[in-house]
Symmetry: C2
Subunit: 91 residues, 2 copies
DNA sequence: CCTTTATTTAGATGTTTACCTAATTATCTA
DNA sequence: TAGATAATTAGGTAAACATCTAAATAAAGG
Protein backbone atom coordinates (compact mmCIF):
# COMPACT_ATOMS: atom_id res chain seq x y z
CA UNK A 1 0.00 0.00 0.00
CA UNK A 2 1.32 3.42 -0.96
CA UNK A 3 0.39 5.76 1.88
CA UNK A 4 0.45 8.79 -0.41
CA UNK A 5 -1.74 7.12 -3.02
CA UNK A 6 -4.34 6.20 -0.42
CA UNK A 7 -4.54 9.70 1.01
CA UNK A 8 -4.64 11.25 -2.45
CA UNK A 9 -7.59 9.01 -3.25
CA UNK A 10 -9.33 10.13 -0.06
CA UNK A 11 -8.70 13.83 -0.68
CA UNK A 12 -11.69 14.48 -2.92
CA UNK A 13 -15.26 15.05 -1.68
CA UNK A 14 -16.83 13.03 -4.48
CA UNK A 15 -14.65 10.04 -3.67
CA UNK A 16 -15.44 10.31 0.04
CA UNK A 17 -19.13 10.29 -0.86
CA UNK A 18 -18.60 7.19 -3.00
CA UNK A 19 -17.05 5.50 0.01
CA UNK A 20 -20.05 6.46 2.10
CA UNK A 21 -22.34 4.87 -0.49
CA UNK A 22 -20.28 1.69 -0.59
CA UNK A 23 -20.34 1.56 3.17
CA UNK A 24 -24.09 0.88 2.97
CA UNK A 25 -23.83 -1.80 0.30
CA UNK A 26 -21.96 -2.90 -2.80
CA UNK A 27 -23.05 -1.06 -5.94
CA UNK A 28 -22.62 -1.03 -9.70
CA UNK A 29 -20.71 1.80 -11.38
CA UNK A 30 -23.93 3.10 -12.92
CA UNK A 31 -25.75 3.00 -9.61
CA UNK A 32 -22.98 5.07 -8.08
CA UNK A 33 -22.92 7.53 -10.98
CA UNK A 34 -26.68 8.08 -10.63
CA UNK A 35 -26.13 9.48 -7.14
CA UNK A 36 -24.00 12.34 -8.43
CA UNK A 37 -24.51 15.38 -10.57
CA UNK A 38 -21.57 14.37 -12.71
CA UNK A 39 -21.02 12.38 -15.90
CA UNK A 40 -20.41 8.63 -15.84
CA UNK A 41 -16.87 8.95 -17.21
CA UNK A 42 -15.98 11.28 -14.34
CA UNK A 43 -17.30 8.81 -11.80
CA UNK A 44 -15.49 6.01 -13.59
CA UNK A 45 -12.30 7.99 -13.19
CA UNK A 46 -12.93 8.44 -9.47
CA UNK A 47 -13.62 4.72 -9.07
CA UNK A 48 -10.37 3.95 -10.83
CA UNK A 49 -8.52 6.28 -8.45
CA UNK A 50 -10.07 4.53 -5.45
CA UNK A 51 -9.26 1.11 -6.87
CA UNK A 52 -5.65 2.04 -7.69
CA UNK A 53 -5.24 3.04 -4.07
CA UNK A 54 -6.64 -0.32 -3.02
CA UNK A 55 -9.63 1.23 -1.26
CA UNK A 56 -12.26 -0.46 -3.40
CA UNK A 57 -12.53 -3.73 -5.29
CA UNK A 58 -14.47 -4.44 -8.46
CA UNK A 59 -15.97 -7.53 -9.95
CA UNK A 60 -17.76 -7.92 -13.24
CA UNK A 61 -21.18 -9.46 -13.13
CA UNK A 62 -22.52 -9.68 -16.68
CA UNK A 63 -22.92 -6.16 -18.06
CA UNK A 64 -22.41 -4.67 -14.62
CA UNK A 65 -19.27 -4.01 -12.65
CA UNK A 66 -19.87 -4.17 -8.95
CA UNK A 67 -17.77 -2.07 -6.61
CA UNK A 68 -17.17 -2.80 -2.93
CA UNK A 69 -15.00 -1.43 -0.13
CA UNK A 70 -11.70 -3.12 0.63
CA UNK A 71 -11.73 -2.63 4.38
CA UNK A 72 -8.28 -4.12 4.96
CA UNK A 73 -6.60 -1.03 3.49
CA UNK A 74 -8.63 1.20 5.78
CA UNK A 75 -7.45 -0.90 8.69
CA UNK A 76 -3.84 -0.49 7.60
CA UNK A 77 -4.27 3.29 7.58
CA UNK A 78 -5.87 3.15 11.00
CA UNK A 79 -2.80 1.34 12.33
CA UNK A 80 -0.49 4.01 10.89
CA UNK A 81 -2.62 6.78 12.38
CA UNK A 82 -2.92 5.22 15.80
CA UNK A 83 0.84 4.89 15.86
CA UNK A 84 1.09 8.65 15.35
CA UNK A 85 -1.35 9.43 18.11
CA UNK A 86 0.93 7.44 20.38
CA UNK A 87 4.04 9.61 20.00
CA UNK A 88 7.58 8.47 20.91
CA UNK A 89 7.87 10.72 23.93
CA UNK A 90 4.59 9.44 25.31
CA UNK A 91 5.12 5.72 24.84
CA UNK B 1 -12.37 19.33 10.81
CA UNK B 2 -12.77 19.12 7.06
CA UNK B 3 -12.20 15.52 6.10
CA UNK B 4 -11.09 16.45 2.58
CA UNK B 5 -8.66 19.07 3.82
CA UNK B 6 -7.04 16.58 6.20
CA UNK B 7 -6.58 13.93 3.54
CA UNK B 8 -5.30 16.49 1.04
CA UNK B 9 -2.71 17.53 3.60
CA UNK B 10 -1.67 13.90 4.04
CA UNK B 11 -1.45 13.20 0.32
CA UNK B 12 2.08 14.48 -0.21
CA UNK B 13 5.25 12.50 0.60
CA UNK B 14 7.10 15.52 1.97
CA UNK B 15 4.28 16.27 4.38
CA UNK B 16 4.10 12.65 5.53
CA UNK B 17 7.84 12.83 6.24
CA UNK B 18 7.33 16.01 8.23
CA UNK B 19 4.75 14.17 10.33
CA UNK B 20 7.25 11.36 10.91
CA UNK B 21 9.79 13.91 12.13
CA UNK B 22 7.28 15.55 14.45
CA UNK B 23 6.32 12.16 15.80
CA UNK B 24 9.82 11.92 17.33
CA UNK B 25 9.78 15.38 18.85
CA UNK B 26 8.61 18.97 18.37
CA UNK B 27 10.82 20.94 15.99
CA UNK B 28 11.39 24.44 14.65
CA UNK B 29 10.54 25.27 11.04
CA UNK B 30 14.23 25.61 10.20
CA UNK B 31 15.06 22.29 11.83
CA UNK B 32 12.41 20.62 9.71
CA UNK B 33 13.55 22.37 6.52
CA UNK B 34 17.12 21.18 7.13
CA UNK B 35 15.95 17.57 6.82
CA UNK B 36 14.79 18.06 3.24
CA UNK B 37 16.39 18.76 -0.09
CA UNK B 38 14.00 21.64 -0.61
CA UNK B 39 13.94 25.39 0.05
CA UNK B 40 12.67 26.85 3.30
CA UNK B 41 9.73 28.61 1.62
CA UNK B 42 8.56 25.30 0.19
CA UNK B 43 8.70 23.64 3.60
CA UNK B 44 6.96 26.65 5.10
CA UNK B 45 4.15 26.16 2.61
CA UNK B 46 3.87 22.48 3.53
CA UNK B 47 3.75 23.35 7.22
CA UNK B 48 0.99 25.83 6.50
CA UNK B 49 -0.97 23.14 4.66
CA UNK B 50 -0.60 20.77 7.61
CA UNK B 51 -1.62 23.48 10.04
CA UNK B 52 -4.66 24.53 7.99
CA UNK B 53 -5.81 20.93 8.13
CA UNK B 54 -5.36 20.97 11.90
CA UNK B 55 -2.72 18.25 11.84
CA UNK B 56 0.02 20.37 13.38
CA UNK B 57 0.19 23.26 15.83
CA UNK B 58 2.73 26.05 15.96
CA UNK B 59 3.97 28.30 18.70
CA UNK B 60 6.46 31.12 18.49
CA UNK B 61 9.40 30.97 20.84
CA UNK B 62 11.56 34.04 20.27
CA UNK B 63 12.93 33.89 16.74
CA UNK B 64 11.84 30.31 16.34
CA UNK B 65 8.47 28.84 15.54
CA UNK B 66 8.02 25.41 17.02
CA UNK B 67 5.80 22.88 15.30
CA UNK B 68 4.13 19.91 16.97
CA UNK B 69 1.59 17.25 16.05
CA UNK B 70 -2.05 17.77 16.96
CA UNK B 71 -2.91 14.18 17.74
CA UNK B 72 -6.60 14.84 18.36
CA UNK B 73 -7.24 15.31 14.63
CA UNK B 74 -5.50 12.04 13.88
CA UNK B 75 -7.77 10.39 16.41
CA UNK B 76 -10.83 11.87 14.71
CA UNK B 77 -9.74 10.40 11.40
CA UNK B 78 -9.14 7.04 13.06
CA UNK B 79 -12.72 7.07 14.32
CA UNK B 80 -14.04 7.80 10.83
CA UNK B 81 -11.91 5.04 9.33
CA UNK B 82 -12.84 2.45 11.92
CA UNK B 83 -16.46 3.20 11.25
CA UNK B 84 -15.89 2.34 7.59
CA UNK B 85 -14.15 -0.92 8.39
CA UNK B 86 -17.27 -1.85 10.32
CA UNK B 87 -19.73 -1.74 7.41
CA UNK B 88 -23.52 -1.52 7.78
CA UNK B 89 -24.18 -5.05 6.61
CA UNK B 90 -21.67 -6.44 9.07
CA UNK B 91 -22.75 -4.54 12.19
C1' DC C 1 19.00 51.30 15.77
C1' DC C 2 21.55 48.31 12.66
C1' DT C 3 22.77 43.59 11.53
C1' DT C 4 21.97 38.89 11.71
C1' DT C 5 19.01 34.98 11.97
C1' DA C 6 14.43 32.66 11.49
C1' DT C 7 10.50 32.40 9.03
C1' DT C 8 6.81 33.73 6.00
C1' DT C 9 4.58 36.06 1.96
C1' DA C 10 4.46 37.20 -2.98
C1' DG C 11 4.84 36.19 -7.58
C1' DA C 12 6.06 33.09 -11.39
C1' DT C 13 6.15 28.48 -13.67
C1' DG C 14 5.67 23.55 -14.81
C1' DT C 15 2.85 19.59 -13.47
C1' DT C 16 -1.15 17.26 -11.87
C1' DT C 17 -6.02 16.86 -11.36
C1' DA C 18 -11.09 17.03 -12.18
C1' DC C 19 -14.17 17.56 -15.37
C1' DC C 20 -16.33 17.46 -19.90
C1' DT C 21 -17.63 15.25 -24.76
C1' DA C 22 -16.75 11.72 -28.07
C1' DA C 23 -15.35 7.24 -29.11
C1' DT C 24 -14.46 2.42 -27.76
C1' DT C 25 -15.07 -2.07 -25.44
C1' DA C 26 -17.90 -5.64 -23.32
C1' DT C 27 -22.08 -8.08 -22.53
C1' DC C 28 -26.83 -9.32 -23.11
C1' DT C 29 -30.89 -10.46 -25.74
C1' DA C 30 -34.12 -10.65 -29.50
C1' DT D 1 -25.38 -11.14 -35.31
C1' DA D 2 -27.58 -6.44 -34.78
C1' DG D 3 -29.17 -3.26 -31.36
C1' DA D 4 -29.34 -1.82 -26.70
C1' DT D 5 -27.19 -1.15 -22.29
C1' DA D 6 -23.11 -0.67 -19.05
C1' DA D 7 -18.86 0.95 -18.43
C1' DT D 8 -14.25 2.53 -19.71
C1' DT D 9 -10.65 4.93 -22.45
C1' DA D 10 -9.06 8.99 -25.06
C1' DG D 11 -8.38 13.67 -25.66
C1' DG D 12 -8.93 18.41 -24.32
C1' DT D 13 -9.24 22.39 -20.89
C1' DA D 14 -9.41 25.13 -16.68
C1' DA D 15 -8.24 25.12 -11.91
C1' DA D 16 -5.23 23.62 -8.21
C1' DC D 17 -0.70 22.43 -6.53
C1' DA D 18 4.43 22.03 -5.63
C1' DT D 19 8.27 24.29 -6.30
C1' DC D 20 11.49 28.04 -7.00
C1' DT D 21 13.61 33.01 -6.31
C1' DA D 22 13.06 37.46 -4.36
C1' DA D 23 11.16 40.38 -0.99
C1' DA D 24 9.02 41.21 3.52
C1' DT D 25 8.29 40.58 8.54
C1' DA D 26 9.76 39.44 13.30
C1' DA D 27 12.88 38.99 17.00
C1' DA D 28 17.65 39.04 19.18
C1' DG D 29 21.91 41.07 20.29
C1' DG D 30 25.55 44.09 19.94
Amino acid sequence: MSQTLVFKALSDPTRLSIIDLLKERDRTAGDIADQFNMTKPSISHHLNTLQSAGLVLSERNGQHIIYSLNTTVFQDVVKWMMDISRKENES
